[in-house]
């Protein structure tokens, strides 16, 4: 048996935040346990049947007391809520400049692809002290990507992108668990995160077969699957150019605006009819079922990457 622990290792920046609140909650619990259990114990002894204690003028209620012990927990509760909410907001917001890693969950494994193109299964190698952002999706049921040492967890939902970030602070190996029940081998959908020194990480990236970067794969797909046939300046179809699209507001045919985030790009490829860009016809075929989740992620990485280049004006009405 390994060492005996009462707390999991603290290996990320949010681990500390969460633990602080956790310890505070323990203290508050101890406080309430004291104010409830001690009187109970005391009364049970003092006022046990037949004892000689003074029982004259018992109080049967007092609105003042009631209001007091209603208000106190309310205020404490609101404070705890505020604290938890602030941290939660930080945990749930995607960081802007992070090392991007794509993760696809399936029954019953985690498929990981790094921006540089390197792929791994049930393992995640990352450098220490860098902010890592995972984009997660599932190709079947709901899973949940849980790293106890980082105190982060995010459900991985089919049909949509969720994200999770952390900034590891300590090199080492930590558990990855799938914490959402996903079928027979749910308990075996586990893996490990390996947090390395940056140099070691760089070396690790070089090992094994040389791979093309995720953006490069996406670019290749963009041509192989015929996207470029429409989405290029010299196409005979009237289709929007995708340069500079990412994170920009897009006017839709029904008059509303959306921001072109990952989910929007994904939906545009799989359900083009859902949101039609203003000024275009609904001629784009759905690629649902023709692309794997990994390929979609690669395509999106490519579309995102061309976002930074100057977008020529042609093609836009």
């Amino acid at each position: 048996m390994d060492q005996f622990h009462l707390f999991p290792p603290q290996a990320s920046t949010s681990a500390q935040e969460v633990d602080h609140l956790y310890f505070t909650l323990i203290l508050i619990s101890l406080f309430f346990i004291t104010v409830v259990f001690l009187p109970i114990l005391y009364f049970c002894i003092k006022y046990r049947r037949g004892s000689a204690a003074d029982r004259s003028n018992p109080l049967n209620g007092s609105n003042l007391i009631e209001v007091g012990w209603t208000t106190l927990p309310t205020l404490m509760g609101l404070a705890l809520f505020g604290w938890g909410a602030v941290d939660y907001f930080r945990i749930e917001r995607k960081p802007a400049n992070a090392l991007q890693v794509q993760v696809v969950g399936k029954q019953w494994m985690w498929k990981v692809q790094h921006a540089e193109g390197k792929q791994e299964i049930n393992e995640l190698h990352i450098p220490v002290d860098r902010t890592i952002a995972l984009t997660l999706t599932s190709q079947d049921v709901i899973h949940s990507f849980f790293v106890p040492a980082f105190r982060v967890k995010q459900d991985v939902v089919p049909g949509k992108y969720t994200s999770e970030w952390f900034k590891p602070t300590r090199p080492g190996e930590y558990h990855i668990f799938c914490s959402q029940y996903c079928g027979t081998q749910h308990a075996k959908m586990i893996g490990r995160v390996v947090v390395m020194q940056p140099e070691a990480y760089a070396r690790w990236l070089q090992t094994g077969e040389q791979t093309e970067s995720i953006v490069r794969s996406g670019e290749r797909l963009f041509y192989d699957r015929g996207c470029s046939g429409c989405h290029s300046p010299n196409s005979k179809f009237h289709a929007p150019l995708l340069q500079g699209l990412y994170r920009k507001p897009v006017p839709l045919a029904d008059g509303t605006m959306v921001t072109a985030d990952d989910q929007y790009l994904r939906d545009s490829i799989l359900q083009p009819a859902k949101q039609i860009s203003a000024g275009y016809d609904n001629i784009m075929p759905s690629f649902s079922g023709h692309l794997t989740e990994e390929e979609i992620m690669q395509l999106i990485a490519y579309v995102k990457s061309i976002g930074r280049e100057e977008s020529p004006d042609q093609g836009k009405p």
Partner: protein, 224 residues
């Protein structure tokens, strides 16, 4: 212990109509009425699950829902609304007839209510048949000319689930009305205990109200 001897004090002629757990007819009627209203509250939430799904998907896929709604037959939906509203009026009059101890009118009105219920079902049946021949039935023969038929299929699934559940309620209602009409022939409801009629009326009006919402949501979402 002081006691009201209410148990032994039943001298009214309506005595036999009062179940053993109640003191008098009024208590019994109050209980039945309240019970029915609570049942209707559960019904609201039972249908509510479907209304929630409808709301969520309509907000996710407004265009598909409008397009799909365009394929419903507004004429039948509208006529059916009128029919139900009218039958509800008759039902309200039936309760009144029972209260006034007017046996013949009561029976006639109950039968008329049931009749309009049946007309509703017949029209609904015709509509379902049209839906079938138009290939609008999810899974069984759904054929939607769009690269992405999912949302439209969801619309029609909800359409069938909601109208189907409603139709089940109408059917139950029709049987209740017919049974009550039969029982009314013995004069059971015209001697002062018209609670069953009243309760059945509440049910029928409720089913009417559900349809009042189904009509605009399902039929009128896409006809512009």
């Amino acid at each position: 212990m002081e006691a009201t001897a209410s148990l032994n004090e039943r001298t009214e002629p309506t005595q036999s109509l009062v179940a053993r757990q109640f003191d008098d007819l009024e208590q019994q009627r109050g209980a039945a009425e309240l019970g029915m209203w609570i049942f209707l509250a559960t019904e609201v939430l039972f249908f509510g699950g479907l209304f929630l799904a409808y709301t969520v998907f309509r907000s996710l896929y407004p265009r598909d829902f409008a397009a799909a709604s365009h394929h419903t037959i507004v004429l039948i939906g509208g006529m059916n609304t009128a029919i139900l509203l009218f039958s509800s009026t008759l039902m309200a009059l039936a309760v009144r007839a029972a209260e006034l101890r007017n046996q013949t009118t009561l029976i006639r009105l109950l039968l008329a209510t049931a009749f309009f219920g049946i007309v509703f079902m017949v029209l609904k049946g015709i509509e379902y048949y049209k839906d079938w021949t138009d290939h609008l039935v999810p899974v069984l023969n759904f054929d939607w000319h769009s690269p992405n038929p999912g949302p439209a299929q969801i619309f029609f699934w909800l359409y069938f689930a909601m109208t189907g559940l409603h139709a089940i309620h109408i059917t139950v209602g029709i049987f209740v009305m017919l049974t009550l009409a039969l029982m009314a022939r013995t004069g059971k409801f015209t001697t002062g205990n018209y609670t069953p009629i009243e309760i059945a009326g509440l049910y029928w009006h409720f089913v009417d109200i559900v349809w009042i919402f189904l009509f605009p949501l399902l039929y009128l979402a896409g006809h512009r």
